[in-house]
Amino acid sequence: MKNRVYLILLALADSDLHGLGIARAVQELSDGQTRLWPASLYGTLDELSESGWIEELDDPRERPADESEKKRFYRLTRAGHRALAVETDRLGALVKIARSRLRPRAGDLS
């Protein structure tokens, strides 16, 4: 899973957000390391909604004249949750292994 996909899913895990909100949350989550830019953010969002991991909320407000003016809110789907959990487990396992490997060896202390 791409880093930005994981971060987007994570941002949507506890609240439903719109695009700009997702970008801000991602920046926060990654400690300022990942800044999403419009084209890649919305491209990824489209991709994710197509694969069914996130979905658009029905907008109760009336539609603006131009479709692109519409503010879309996204929510994590069940499939999205599952994907996020699986990836988190995988990362967790990976981190565990990495930690054990990176433990300082005896010789390094002297």
Binding site: H18, G19, L20, A23, R35, W37, P38, A39, S40, L41, Y42, G43, L45, D46, E47, E50, P64, D66, E67, S68, E69, K70, K71, R72
Partner: protein
């Protein structure tokens, strides 16, 4: 902010339409944030945004492609659709097999002839010389307008002067074609070679494969006998072994040491197989012009600068030898020098073949348009029941591309065949490094032409047909009425264009064929029937003096005369139409002193034996030919001379007879010795020495005893077919001296045919093109009229039902189409008279408005045009009103 909107335009459309507003808002947010941190941060934001959008493009493409796999038309079915397009196209083409074959044939003819002529032009003009930076190579020679000589050949002394002084060339060299007798185990071989100066390879930019170029010492007078051999000789005679250096070759009975081997690319001038140093002496400052010059311009130097510099260096010569400034040097582009003869011919052929291709394309367009118009109903119905326009267009495109690929392939085959035909028809005249073959560019050209034809001439009519609204298309065709006006008008315009171009080509082709006929019937001034000529190369060491040379020739002539079937044997220094020339000057007794600006035409100088004249069938105007007593005093005594009409006319204008008048060779009397006078004893009719199309120059014959070492061409007048004497003549020569080869053995008929071969080739080709254009135009006109008649069946049926006689029907049909044909022919013939002026250099005096040709072209085109329209008209006249009214 507008800036970002512009950037967004570049973003994938789907993204822009769905999220454009939000994306903009987000960018605004980022920008506002960055503004607080200064200009650099702001610029960074812009850069990031641009990069972001640039990256989104390929991602989006990939995404689209993936998505298409899932939704919309499944990929398997897409493939099926292309297959079905192909199948449908095949069925539709097969259904109208005749029309399809017609289109393929027309395309093939057009493309085939274009390919052939383009290969010719490509070989001659476009393919670069096989040398590095060939555009910097120039040809150098000298010109003497007052001697009536465009090119005199380079004087060695002048060359030495240029080489010392010039500032514009990287290197300059001279070359001189020479032939060598190469002694072999079994006898002697004749080999073409060249004498070159030491910088020759530097000019060409070529390195020897092994060994080295001649040194300065070797290229000096009385230098060592060394030679460079070509790659071919190296392989043939030395098996390509590296130890060839230092080996010896016996050339012209002298022993040469091999110092190097040159690659095939260095074979310049063409056909040369070995090279020897020129060993000229710059100290000799005489009127001796005979070499060709070759130079490589320094980078950035123009031809004008080079010419100016040559004139500057020539000043020394003007100050000393050539005070009258008679001979001036010039440099011209090397390729131009070698292709001058072919320039007009190539552009004429190119124009002709382009016209032919246009006629073929017009034809294809007309046929396609007629087809498309006839299918309006089918297309209309398919549109009506919901076929996509794009799908229909694609289908028509597939059909047309199929047709044009078939046409292109057939065209390539025809072109290939035509090239081989062409090459065999111009044998010796083309520069020898040119190769006329299909190359990759040609194939690309063909493919491009056929596809362009498909789209321009096949698809456009389809669009044209489809532009009608659906309802109209179905309604009009169901009613079986005539074709729409717009389509009909386009069809007629195409027929007019075809006939105009065809008549233009017919007239031009006719003029050239007539010119060729005129050339062929030109009196050469000698009798070419039953004459065999060949040249013997007698090395100087074999006949060191005049007496031994005369004795050798006496033996040779006697032996030749003994051959059965030989009637007469003559010896000449330079036979007619065999590309040789030896020019000198003569001064007449009591001639007024020549003014500085008076022309001083150079005289064609020949040495002939007494029997030569009757053997060659030369006719006498007055006086007598030589007999055995002419010139027997040798070159130190007064003697006799025979002149031609032109000489008599230019030397003694206005005088009735030249007999008894006296001349001496040269422009000035020899210092410190008595003049040796030559008395005119005979005047011959003019003879076309340089070819049937070339002007006659003043010329003279000297009796053989004056210079017995130059009469090397043997002329045999035979009783029967001269070609069969060849073997006997060779055998007889071997008996006289086995080491002397006979070469350039040809009958005079062959020589004449050879001198005409180029003209024969292009006249014949243009004639063929003209006939092809005519056939195409006739075919096109026939097709169009047939189509229109078939569309008018219903209308004609009504007319018949109302009492029109069949003659009336034919007349109605014919009237329209013949008017169209006549307009085309008239336009074409008027155009041809204009175009004829550009041809005039090729027309050999035939006027471009030659009444016979113009009349013939008109009659031929109008009558074939009539025939092409008469057949459909007759069919129309036989229309059965019952059937035609019931049709549809």
């Amino acid at each position: 902010m507008n800036g970002y909107r512009l950037l967004l335009r570049l973003a994938p459309r789907r993204l822009r339409e769905r999220h454009g507003g939000e994306m903009e808002a987000m960018f605004r947010d980022r920008l506002a944030e960055a503004r607080e941190r200064g200009r650099i941060a702001e610029a960074a934001i812009w850069l990031h945004a641009a990069r972001d959008i640039a990256i989104s493009l390929p991602t989006e493409l990939l995404h689209c492609w993936r998505r298409r796999g899932r939704v919309g038309i499944p990929r398997e079915r897409r493939a099926l659709m292309i297959g079905s397009d192909l199948r449908y196209a095949w069925r539709s083409l097969n259904h109208q097999r005749f029309a399809s074959l017609l289109v393929i044939g027309m395309l093939a003819l057009g493309i085939g002839s274009t390919v052939a002529v383009f290969s010719l032009v490509n070989g001659l003009f476009l393919r670069p010389f096989p040398f590095p930076d060939p555009e910097r190579l120039v040809y150098v020679n000298e010109t003497a307008p007052k001697w009536n000589l465009e090119m005199t050949g380079v004087n060695y002394h002048d060359y030495a002067q240029w080489r010392r002084d010039q500032k514009v060339f990287e290197a300059i060299a001279l070359y001189d074609r020479r032939a060598f007798n190469l002694a072999t185990d079994g006898g002697a071989d004749r080999m073409n070679g060249a004498a070159v100066t030491m910088d020759f390879l530097r000019v060409l930019g070529v390195q020897p494969i092994i060994g080295r170029m001649f040194t300065q010492e070797e290229d000096a007078p009385k230098g060592p006998l060394v030679t460079l051999i070509g790659e071919a000789v190296w392989h043939e005679r030395f098996g390509g072994r590296a130890d060839v250096l230092g080996k010896e070759l016996k050339l012209n009975s002298r022993t040469f040491t091999i110092v190097g081997v040159l690659p095939k690319a260095a074979e310049f001038p063409g056909g040369v197989r070995l090279w020897v140093p020129m060993q000229g002496d710059p100290a000799v400052n005489a009127q001796n012009y005979s070499y060709d010059g070759l130079a490589r311009l320094k980078p950035g130097v123009t031809l004008e600068q080079a010419n100016a510099d040559l004139m500057r260096t020539q000043q020394v010569v003007f100050d000393t030898r050539d005070k009258e400034r008679l001979v001036t040097p010039f440099a011209r582009d090397l390729r131009e020098q070698f292709t001058r003869e072919f320039g007009t011919v190539a552009s004429t052929l190119g124009a002709a073949v382009t016209l032919l291709l246009i006629v073929a394309c017009a034809n294809v367009a007309a046929l396609m348009l007629a087809r498309a118009l006839a299918r309006r109903r089918e297309i209309g119905i398919r549109l009506a029941i919901g076929a996509g326009r794009a799908r229909l267009l694609r289908q028509l495109l597939v059909e047309n591309i199929l047709l044009s690929i078939a046409g292109g392939a057939a065209g390539l085959a025809i072109g290939q065949w035509a090239i081989s035909l062409l090459v065999s028809s111009l044998p010796d005249r083309a520069p020898s490094w040119t190769t006329f073959a299909l190359d990759a560019r040609m194939v690309v050209f063909t493919i491009a032409t056929s596809i362009a034809t498909a789209i321009l001439f096949g698809w456009a009519p389809a669009l044209h047909a489809m532009n009608n609204d659906v309802r109209g298309a179905i309604a009009t065709t169901t009613a079986g009425s005539t074709a729409p006006v717009r389509g009909r008008r386009t069809l007629w315009a195409l027929v007019v264009a075809e006939f105009a171009l065809a008549s233009l080509m017919f007239v031009c082709g006719g003029l050239l064929v007539r010119a060729y006929d005129r050339v062929r019937n030109t009196d050469p001034g000698f009798d070419p029937s039953n004459v065999l000529t060949y040249t013997v190369a007698v090395p100087a060491v074999k006949t060191p003096d005049d007496a031994s040379a005369a004795a050798f020739r006496k033996r040779l002539v006697e032996r030749m005369r003994a051959i059965a079937g030989v009637k007469e044997v003559g010896m000449i220094s330079c036979a007619p139409v065999s590309n040789c020339h030896w020019g000198t000057f003569y001064t007449a007794e009591n001639a007024p002193p020549r003014g500085a600006n008076d022309p001083n035409p150079i005289i064609l100088n020949r040495v002939a034996s007494a029997e030569y004249f009757s053997a060659m069938g030369i006719r006498l105007k007055e006086g007598r030919f030589f007999n055995g007593s002419d010139g027997i005093g040798g070159r130190d005594k007064d003697s006799t001379i025979i002149v031609n009409e032109s000489f008599a006319r230019t030397t003694w204008p206005g005088e009735a007879s030249a007999i008894g008048k006296r001349v001496y060779p040269g422009t000035n009397p020899p210092p410190n010795q008595p003049i040796r006078w030559l008395t005119v004893v005979g005047v011959t009719k003019d003879l076309r020495h340089y070819g049937l199309e070339q002007p006659v120059r003043p010329g003279v014959y000297l009796p053989e005893p004056l210079n017995p070492r130059v009469t090397n061409t043997v002329v045999l007048k035979t009783a029967g077919d001269p070609a069969v004497i060849g073997a006997a003549a060779r055998a007889a020569l071997r008996e006289v001296d086995p080491e002397i080869p006979a070469y350039d053995m040809r009958t005079m008929e062959e020589r004449l045919a050879l001198s005409r071969s180029l003209r024969a080739a292009y006249s014949w080709m243009l004639g063929v093109f003209a006939v092809m254009a005519l056939l195409l135009a006739v075919g096109g006109s026939y097709g169009v009229t047939s189509y229109l008649v078939s569309q008018r069946t219903r209308e004609l049926g009504i007319r018949v039902a109302l009492g029109a006689r069949s003659a009336d029907i034919s007349r109605t049909v014919l009237k329209g189409s013949l008017a169209v044909v006549s307009i085309g022919v008239v336009v074409g013939v008027i155009g041809a008279v204009g175009a004829g002026r550009f041809l005039s250099s090729l027309l050999f005096g035939v006027p471009p408005y030659d009444a016979l040709i113009l009349g013939l072209a008109m009659v031929a085109l109008l009558s074939t045009g009539f025939l092409a329209n008469w057949l459909p008209a007759r069919r129309a006249a036989r229309v059965d009103p019952m059937i035609s009214l019931r049709a549809d």
